[in-house]
Symmetry: C2
Subunit: 259 residues, 2 copies
């Protein structure tokens, strides 16, 4: 299959660089085609602004979503954005790899999302009716594709456990996994998280790579997170609240998973 | 008091621009000193990289946190970073104002956090022992200061409600409010969220501004989110899991609040 690896780390000789190189080799050895968007190496422009829409009337106020819609619809997006969208179309599976900085993705990767996820491409698509609130959360341009996060953290696994002080890793990643990946239609695999990344050294790097390797081997077959689809009956429209009777009395972001 | 408003929106004539201008006027009229970091107007550099540490040995691999520590300790950070840190020292209250893009902050604001929050300034401070795991989560350089988010969303309030499909707004903002603000010591006020921002027009903008005005009037006195302090006995050290007996059986990020 075709795998796009979107990679956000500034230092090629880092653990993240090692993981990325390993991933490319492992995937290619398994017969997959791989493209890497190495955002730091590409000097990816992070902030969305009017320069993303060449030829726009500079007198008109810039509107991030409406400008994005117009530029996408008219084929007048900046080339870097269009190229990433083409890679997403090409891909069967997308991996986002990054160090967890301040409990989220690095700015440069957030800027990839903000700019590549154009109106008409990743959102604002599909019919709006009293039974269908647009193609999102399980439907959309990425439907049929899979996605997975590969994340390193400096902190300990227990700090990200169910009762850990940082918050459970699945809750911290919910805005990304549910809000950025499931929203435009990806099926989302459980994340692969490498804790205490600064303690990975020559002694244990082989184990760490093998752990990642097993996840890469399972990309096409491992079970995905069973997020509830928006338009399949579990949510009221238009309030988009979970239907009474489902997960009654339950708390936490887990209510947005089936079963 | 001294208020720092960190503002991330590309268009001055937008609702966000109007809110920002209103906030400055309201705060100044109440006798406060205000500084604004208008990140788009400043053309803030978002990605952290070796250029943030002028004079570093370019042959040495770049390490985001260790380079940051060395540059901070030796007074060799880039000027834009040092200037923002000085504003943070000056401020009694910090407001982060931004549109919620993909369930988090815009890339340019994440880049402000990634770069300004240096090792030795916002993290990696304080004693590490079997009773004290560094000055963080309620202690640290920002202790005694307050912070508040002002956030606009395109989506409806019900979509961000306890059972709303996007996830509860407090959970989506937890990585920011708990992980970026409470972590270095801020007392965090409940967020001020303006939903369905595209529906704010001439008819109702006065109400929206007045709603923000009331929150600004209460900055110094309103109750803050009662997050649990890391080193005050509620967490086991070093696992940093909530101590048995506290919030037993409870789920969700709310367990990290007292009471």
């Amino acid at each position: 299959m075709n795998v796009l690896l979107v990679y956000a780390h500034p230092e090629p000789t880092s653990l993240n660089g090692t993981l990325k190189d390993f991933a490319v080799q492992r995937l290619q050895a398994a017969g997959h085609a791989v493209q890497v968007s190495d955002l730091y190496a590409m000097r990816w422009k992070a902030p969305i602004d009017g320069d993303d829409h060449p030829g726009r009337d500079p007198q008109r106020p810039f509107h991030a979503s409406l400008d994005s819609r117009e530029a996408y619809a008219n084929g007048r997006q900046s080339d870097d954005i269009a190229a990433e969208q083409e890679k997403l179309r090409w891909a069967d599976t997308v991996i986002l790899q990054f160090p967890l900085w301040w409990f989220s993705m690095p700015a440069i990767l957030k800027g990839w999302v903000d700019r590549v996820y154009a109106y008409g491409f990743a959102y604002g698509v599909g019919e709006h009716s009293d039974r269908h609130w647009g193609d999102r959360y399980g439907e959309g341009a990425m439907a049929g594709k899979r996605a997975m996060l590969v994340v390193t953290t400096g902190g300990w696994e227990s700090h990200y456990a169910a009762r850990g002080i940082n918050g459970p890793i699945d809750d911290l990643l919910f805005p990304i996994q549910h809000g950025i990946l499931f929203y435009p239609g990806f099926d989302v695999l459980p994340p692969h998280v490498i804790y205490r990344s600064s303690k990975v050294g020559e002694q244990n790097v082989a184990d760490v790579l093998e752990g990642l390797g097993r996840r890469l081997d399972g990309l096409a077959v491992d079970a995905v997170i069973p997020y509830r689809r928006q338009n399949a009956g579990d949510y009221l429209i238009p309030s988009l609240e979970l239907r009474p009777g489902l997960a009654e009395g339950a708390k936490g972001l887990g209510i947005h998973q089936r079963g």
